[in-house]
């Protein structure tokens, strides 16, 4: 069987499906192409989720247990013993509401920063828009987040706290957390392909970031006039936002949120540009 004349004629006039040329341009992410690969993104996420709890005994319960146990430790030391200020919230709610986005963020960040190196086997053998990888790395921990989120509903019920309209803001804060993890992940995963030092930097960075974010304490300990500067850490806005929106108590993180959102956009956009600049050479150096 040979290709018919009609097909040949059509091919002769059709533009090339793919043109392969040296990389150029500082921002030329083909978003339409990336969109065409959304099924692959879905499969990468699906694989991560499938694999995560294979051959574990309690499986997805880990998603709840991790923040819950950390919460217990925080409640004991920072709450019962150190008497930190909690905006008048019960300590378990105060800490769990903060650990929800924090656990998601730290998992997503660590996933994303190693995803290029972890997937080098695939990267060096098959083509796909590389930007799919960091996206999948920050999407798959959302399942754990969802499971852990269900737990706080139980806790709110226990403390007889009624959700308010502030709850509607939760997706916005979550999106901010996703974008922060993605933005940092884009930078770190591309750098990790070049410099394996990143592997050692990330755990330190996560720990450092935990102390720099209002997880164990309330941002009210920061003087009000410096609050916007503190907000340049996007997770500060995210965490206070989670506390406010889940409990309905206190003030929405206003000025701090604006600073956080601005910081996230800069990091994420910069990450996208840098990641794309590295995309063409990743397979050569990873």
């Amino acid at each position: 069987m040979s290709v018919s004349e009609a097909q040949l004629a059509q091919q002769a006039t059709a533009p090339p499906l793919v043109r392969i040329a040296p990389p150029k341009g500082w921002f030329a992410i083909d978003l339409r192409e990336a969109w065409n690969y959304r099924e692959l993104l879905y499969f990468f996420v699906w694989r991560d989720i499938k694999v995560r709890y294979k051959q574990t005994f309690i499986g997805a319960s880990w998603a709840v247990l991790q923040p819950l146990l950390t919460m217990a430790v925080f409640c004991l030391f920072f709450g019962k013993l150190a008497h930190f200020d909690s905006h008048g919230l019960p300590y378990p709610i105060f800490y769990y509401a903060a650990l929800l986005p924090w656990t998601y963020f730290s998992t997503a960040l660590q996933n994303a920063s190693s995803v290029v190196v972890d997937q080098q086997q695939v990267i060096t053998k098959v083509y796909f828009p590389r930007v799919v990888l960091p996206f999948s790395a920050v999407i798959s921990p959302l399942v754990d987040f969802g499971i852990a989120l269900a737990m706080i509903v139980v806790m709110l019920g226990y403390y007889r706290m009624v959700p308010t309209l502030a709850m509607l803001w939760l997706p916005v804060f979550l999106l901010l957390a996703i974008l922060t993890a993605l933005g940092m992940g884009l930078w770190l995963s591309a750098l990790n392909a070049l410099y394996r030092d990143v592997r050692y930097v990330v755990p330190f960075l996560v720990q450092f970031w935990l102390f720099a974010s209002p997880v164990a304490y309330s941002s009210s300990i920061v003087p009000a006039r410096w609050r916007w500067l503190y907000g340049l850490n996007p997770m500060a806005g995210v965490i206070e936002g989670f506390r406010w929106s889940l409990s309905g108590h206190g003030q929405p993180p206003g000025a701090m949120m604006v600073a956080s959102a601005a910081a996230v956009l800069v990091v994420a956009f910069g990450g996208l540009v840098y990641y794309h600049a590295m995309e063409g050479t990743i397979a050569d150096v990873v």
């Binding site: 069987m1 392969i20 499969f43 694989r47 695939v122 030092d197 397979a283």
Partner: protein
């Protein structure tokens, strides 16, 4: 009017060796940061100054060619010739440093079998994952799922985690997925080098199917037999350049004769010749009846194996012997020199050429590796043994007069003799009649 499927124009690719090692350390990072702030954020490209210790390698230099739809093109060349780099660029895994390529049609690339397989997932889950990685949609995979599983012959294990699969099962499943991509342009690299011989034959069969359906195939392999059977056209690469581009037989001959491949003839200078102070091995070569050294032998023709050795100190009894292995490492046979002229007779100093003839229609198709030894038999003393002295290929044509006859499929076995078959026939046989005892008196029955 252009009807090309692939148009490659002046593609070059530069690699810097040692780059990875140099830039993965924090020390260099800091050094760089001090010397040129922000420079370390940039990927290194051609044009930047080269640092000491970095070695630049042009893996491809100004490679141009066109491939028409439906063509099956073989890419050959020794290791490091640039074959894999070219395939990586065409499958968009790596970007060229210079030049460009245009591809008209959906590309499926098989640079490795089983890319993206995950050990913890089941066979079923891996089919979907691998299919997606190779560019298939969920619906498309679902539609072809049964066919893929049947081709891989893993029906009973499809819901077992991959880690419990044998290597063979895993390879079959991986190839089955890849074979069902149905691209218009298929790029294949060395995948046939893995797996057992039967699996390789199955892959070859599937690939010629693809080719027969009018799709374009670019195929990289070390297997001269496979290339000869599949490809009408061949491109020979050497040192990153196109050395020759033309009909497979022409290009393959040049490749085999130019010493670019693993050699069918080897010579040693006296200084480096294997052996002891009494005898030295000077050359081993495989040649045709016409005395032509070649890497590819027609299965029907005899093969002469020459062992050339110098006796430095006369008076020893020496028996040259040859050890023939196939590509799976099976020792096909060992042959000892039976020449009555020198059997048990001390040899005076001088040069000897001992030739063993492997008859035509004896070795099976494939690659054979020859070890050469020279031994004193009583008492046994192996004076020299060159384990992989030479290698050559035996190619079975499909003309119909070799052992395969009209059969084009996979023929197992380490030898492939043409046996004399004969038939006796009786028209009317009563069902109760016992089978006749064997007639020992020769061909003619009473």
């Amino acid at each position: 009017m252009s009807q090309t499927a692939i148009h490659v124009e002046g593609i070059s690719k530069l690699y810097r060796l040692g780059e990875r090692q140099r830039y993965t350390g924090l020390r260099h990072l800091l050094e760089d940061a001090v010397r040129a702030p922000l420079r370390w954020l940039r990927p290194r490209r051609e044009g930047g100054e080269t640092k000491k210790g970095a070695q630049e390698i042009w893996a491809l230099q100004d490679v141009s060619f066109d491939v028409q739809p439906g063509e099956v093109v073989g890419l050959i060349g020794r290791n490091g010739a640039g074959k894999s780099t070219l395939l990586k660029i065409l499958s968009r895994v790596a970007k060229p440093t210079r030049g460009y390529a245009e591809i008209y049609g959906r590309v499926g690339s098989l640079l490795e079998v089983g890319t993206g397989f995950h050990q913890e997932l089941t066979g079923r889950e891996n089919v979907y994952l691998n299919g997606a990685v190779l560019g298939m949609g969920k619906k498309e995979i679902a539609r072809k799922f049964d066919e893929i599983v049947a081709f891989a012959e893993v029906e009973n294990f499809i819901d077992t985690p991959l880690k419990h699969y044998s290597t063979g099962m895993m390879m079959r499943l991986a190839f089955a997925v890849a074979a069902h991509i149905e691209p218009e342009i298929l790029l294949v690299d060395e995948v046939l080098a893995v797996g057992d011989a039967q699996f390789q034959k199955k892959c070859l069969g599937k690939m010629s199917d693809v080719a027969n359906h009018g799709r374009t195939v670019i195929f990289v392999s070390h297997n001269a037999a496979a290339i000869t059977r599949l490809c009408a056209r061949c491109i020979l690469l050497d040192g990153g350049k196109v050395l020759q581009d033309g009909p497979t037989f022409e290009v393959m001959n040049r490749y085999l004769l130019s010493g670019l491949s693993t050699s069918a003839a080897r010579e040693w200078t006296l200084a480096e010749a294997p052996g002891d102070n009494a005898v030295r091995l000077r050359a081993v070569r495989a040649r045709t009846t016409e005395g032509e050294t070649t890497e590819a032998f027609d299965i029907r023709r005899p093969i002469a194996l020459d062992v050339v050795f110098d006796v430095l100190k006369g008076g020893v009894v020496l028996t040259p012997n040859l050890h023939v292995f196939n590509e799976e490492g099976v020792n096909v046979f060992v042959s000892l020199d039976q020449d009555p002229a020198w059997r048990g007779r001390p040899r005076p100093a001088g040069r000897y050429i001992s030739t063993a003839w492997i008859p035509g229609n004896f070795l099976a198709e494939g690659t054979f590796i020859i070890g050469a030894a020279i031994t004193t038999l009583s008492p046994v003393n192996v004076r020299l043994y060159e384990r992989e002295a030479i290698a050559f290929q035996v190619i079975d044509s499909t003309d119909g007069n070799s052992a395969r006859g009209d059969y084009a499929g996979h023929l197992p076995g380490v030898v492939r003799p043409v046996l004399a078959w004969e038939t006796s026939y009786v028209a009317n046989v009563e069902s109760q009649q016992p089978v006749e005892p064997v007639w020992i008196g020769g061909k003619d029955r009473p």
